[in-house]
Amino acid sequence: MLYRESGQYKTTYGADQAIFTIPQDRVFFALLMLVAFVGIPLVATNYVYTALLIPFLCLSLAALGLNILTGYCGQLSLGTGAFMGVGAVAAWNLATRVPDLNLVVIFILAGLVTAAVGMFFGLPSLRIKGFYLAVATLAAQFFLPWLFVKWGWLTNHAASGVITVPPLTLLGWSIDTPMEKYLFALGVVAILALGAKNMIRSNPGRQWMAIRDMDIAAEIIGIRPVVAKLTAFAVSSFYIGVAGALYLFVYLGSAEPDGFGINLSFQALFMIIIGGLGSILGSFLGAFFILLLPIFLTRVPPMLGFDLSTALVSHLEFMVFGALIVFFLIVEPHGLARLWQITKEKLRVWPFPY
């Protein structure tokens, strides 16, 4: 009854093309943002920030980047981890080698470097599709972490190979407590997510989706596949690069460059599959699910009074996790975002069945 569109008229095309066309959605989103920016900092503990919220923001940004490429443009990629690594290493080099460089500039430049690398490794997509392309991006996943280790200059010849982030400041605001790091990450993610939504609902997004749905027809109505695919690789890699820089700067703090391995790539891929391919909301839901589930699984049995050994818990976690993924794929192959959409459609007529 509360969530319905009847009686709401749009009188301009501008109003019809807004991100949230229904006032209820606008209110809900505004409340969500209020909770994220004000509510959470009032109540959250350091543990929640460092174990849950900060990695959630970093990885959902990476998932969003991958979703642009895979969900919207239909190009399967297994190089997310490596591209995050490129972003992280580029940002670290900029921060340590160029003193007094603005943090925002560092992130943008790190994103641009990753975009260039991503476009280079996206070149095979002009000739090959689907699983074959996934294997070609796998080459990036193996080559780049190897390069980070072999090319000593990238890590400033650190003997241990570990890169440690210098203290972060943004226009005099020094970002060191978990809460400040969370707010910074949240700001970056919110701005980039808005940018992604805008691209998706206008020309670039339509080009990408046209290539995804029917590349031959897209070419015949005048879309150049080369341009569409490479811009998708560039934008996706930009997002993933910024996510990698965030991951290193506000979450890890210090890392070995070869830590950006294939596990991270798979994690991002699972996030978008479970969250929903071709959905910005889905990237966030998927990241939340993938990150929260292991924490949930380790914490809930003790709460219920089951005293399980740590070894058993970690094995159990893998089993339940695997089973849940299979369950989700069978029940809702279009992901959590689709479930949310169905809920909204049901809500429109609630409490009546139709």
Binding site: Y13, Q17, P204, R206, A217, E219, I220, V235
Partner: protein, 263 residues
């Protein structure tokens, strides 16, 4: 409206001695014909005659081994499909080739991409020029939606639409580019009588109101004879007839191709 009082202009597209083969299979051999401005030209012929291949050559999807195509006075041996699109050649497909995951409106707006300029950065910011551009082109697309009477389905993902409506959306997407030459590959295949009548009306209206030149492939002879100004007949990759419908109907080679001939 009769054919007589319609103004048919100069030659818009001229096909000369086109030959196309795939390995040893000759799809088209030595085909020549012309399409004049503002006419409705039908290409007919039995299955496998090379009709779709001919359209594919015109819009640059296939590259013929021999022959030239002169379009608006410009002679060319081959071009890429997106170049053909930017020169004002649009088409629909025999098997519907819509973007299934997108809504009707988005499909039509995609057809209009060639006219839109906003790039990545402007689109990412959205407010300002990109938004104004979206609204201006939305208005044009809404005119096409009105014209083809598909207002009710503008927000529906095209994958969920019935076949007849999908065909109509595909026509809308082709029209969004404001083409000079519209190639329709079996626009009425698989439709019932009412849907065919609607589609004929739309094709004639497009031809009449927008002045679009139309080249269509169709198997329904009733439709072909009724709506086309001229008919080109292909059989086994060769041209066996060319002329106004009445002429073609009485052409012995055409009758033989359709009804068979005693050997």
């Amino acid at each position: 409206m009769s054919v007589a009082d319609k103004k048919i202009g100069d030659v818009l597209l001229k096909v000369e001695n086109i030959s196309l083969s795939f390995g040893g299979v000759k799809a088209l051999s030595d085909i020549s014909f012309e399409i004049r401005e503002h006419e409705v030209l039908a290409i007919i012929g039995p299955n496998g005659a090379g009709k779709s291949s001919m359209l594919n050559c015109i819009n640059g999807f296939y590259h013929p081994q021999q022959g030239t195509i002169t379009y608006r006075g410009e002679k060319r041996k081959q071009m890429k499909p997106h170049e053909a699109a930017s020169h004002g050649i649009a088409r629909t497909f025999q098997n519907i080739a819509l973007f299934k995951g997108m809504s009707t409106l988005d499909n039509i707006m995609t057809g209009r991409l060639l006219k839109m300029k906003a790039g990545l950065i402007a689109s990412a910011f959205y407010k300002g020029p990109a938004e104004r551009e979206q609204i201006v082109h939305r208005e044009f697309c809404e005119r096409i939606i009105d014209f083809l009477e598909i207002q009710a389905i503008r927000k529906v993902p095209v994958g969920r639409l019935p076949y007849g409506l999908q065909k109509r959306v595909e026509l809308a997407r082709a029209l969004a580019a404001e083409p000079t030459l519209l190639l329709l590959d079996e626009p009425m295949a698989g439709m019932n009588l009412e849907e065919k009548q609607d589609m004929c009306r739309f094709i004639l209206d497009v031809n009449d109101e927008f002045g679009t030149t139309i080249c269509l492939i169709e198997h329904d002879m009733g439709v072909v004879m009724d709506i086309s100004d001229r008919v080109v007949v292909l059989d086994y990759g060769r041209k066996i007839g060319d002329g106004v419908p009445a002429e073609v109907k009485n052409n012995q080679a055409v009758i033989d191709a359709y009804l068979g001939v005693q050997h």
